[in-house]
């Protein structure tokens, strides 16, 4: 589960990071709109990662309850 999320994060972030380093003009093009897109991606990933942590807490609790 953890690895999957990590891979999704890498897959989502890589194009943005590549462009950030390769040509700085991409994120600054069209009035810097893509830096807003990057902000939205960060918020999404942050909330998803937190929810996955809660999911694992629940799974652990379920397991403990069963035992």
């Amino acid at each position: 589960m953890k690895q999957t999320i990590f891979l999704i994060a890498i897959a989502l972030l890589t194009p943005a990071l590549l462009m950030a380093h390769g040509s700085e003009d991409f994120l600054r093009s069209t009035g810097k709109i893509y830096s807003v897109v990057l902000a939205v991606v960060i918020i999404f990933l942050g909330i998803v990662i937190y929810l996955v942590r809660i999911d694992r807490k629940v799974s652990r609790l379920e397991k403990e309850m069963r035992d």
């Binding site: 950030a20 994120l27 600054r28 069209t30 009035g31 810097k32 709109i33 830096s35 807003v36 990057l38 902000a39 939205v40 960060i42 918020i43 942050g46 909330i47 937190y50 929810l51 809660i54 807490k57 629940v58 609790l61 403990e64 309850m65």
Partner: protein, 306 residues
């Protein structure tokens, strides 16, 4: 003779060439109109001015107007220095300037602010995150006070869960702000008062999480963290609301920079901004509720184990 190259933004110079005018405004009543305008694209034009000698060095305001876009204004666009051998010139009275060209574009448009450009949309994400964080912290504070009044473990669980959701939002707020700074100011972080105070606030709340994690005795943990949470909230208010407004800050909305202040937040933005705050707040509330339910189960399990 002087040429000025102008780059427009969302402008229609080429298609509105017939109604295009460029002015340099010297003072409230007079200015110069461009004698020749060469349009090289929808966003590109070169205006030629025939300006003679002026008594002093003058800062001029640039006006570009056409029938479709209305009037674009750039204060202090150029400085006019006069050479001694130039013939003195008389600026045209601005009575020739069409004044009815300030128009509202039809349709759904976001306001344009220099520096911010299209990132004015970060209002819906970055700013709304912080607003939702304040709401969550306020609920956390309420439950901390409730705990001290009633000593019910339920209140402690609620206070902690709401504060953790708020910390998540605060960290995301710092991250999104940092990304914005990277592409606006050219650096991930600057020692700006607003940024540093936000970082200090997050460190104070990080200490809250550390404090809770470090104490095993449930009663002691609840008591200490409730008191700490009240102090942390009291520290947050001057750090985020007062100090950045007392000094100059690069951050939009502080120290004269464009953002939420007064005229900057127009109704188009409000239409999205307020629902965004409510949405993020409800999302945070849901996350906190999940945590509360887990902690309740854990407590119940502890009790049944005994």
């Amino acid at each position: 003779m002087a040429d000025i190259n102008i780059t427009g933004y969302n402008s229609n110079y080429l298609s509105q060439r017939s109604s295009l005018q460029v002015w340099l405004k010297i003072d409230s009543v007079s200015g110069y109109q461009a004698t020749k305008i060469t349009v090289s694209g929808e966003r590109q034009l070169t205006a030629t001015f025939d300006i003679g000698a002026l008594p002093d060095t003058t800062e001029a305001l640039l006006l570009v107007l056409n029938a479709e876009d209305g009037t674009a204004i750039r204060p202090r666009a150029v400085k006019i220095n006069s050479a001694e051998d130039q013939a003195p010139s008389v600026p045209t009275k601005l009575t020739n300037l069409p004044v009815n060209t300030f128009k509202t574009k039809a349709g759904f448009y976001f306001p344009y602010r220099s520096i911010l450009d299209e990132t004015i949309r970060n209002t819906f994400f970055h700013v709304a995150l912080w607003m939702a964080m304040f709401a969550l912290l306020l609920i956390g504070l309420y439950h901390s006070i409730q705990y001290l009044l009633t000593k019910r473990i339920e209140s402690d669980i609620k206070a902690a869960s709401y504060s953790y959701a708020a910390i998540l939002y605060g960290l995301l707020g710092l991250a999104t702000g940092s990304v914005w700074a990277r592409y606006t100011w050219g650096t991930w972080w600057t020692p700006d008062v607003k940024l540093n105070m936000a970082a200090i606030t997050m460190l104070i709340y990080a200490a809250y999480a550390v404090l809770r994690a470090g104490i095993n005795d449930i009663d002691k943990r609840s008591q200490l963290s409730a008191i700490y949470n009240i102090f942390a909230f009291a520290a947050m208010i001057p750090l985020l609301f007062v100090i950045p407004r007392l000094t100059d800050s690069l951050h939009p909305g502080n120290g004269g920079n464009p953002a939420l202040g007064g005229e900057d937040l127009d109704n188009t933005l409000r239409m999205v901004f307020y629902p965004a705050i409510i949405g993020l707040f409800l999302l945070g509330r849901w996350i906190a509720t999940l945590n509360i339910r887990i902690e309740r189960l854990r407590i119940r399990k502890l009790q049944s184990d005994l």
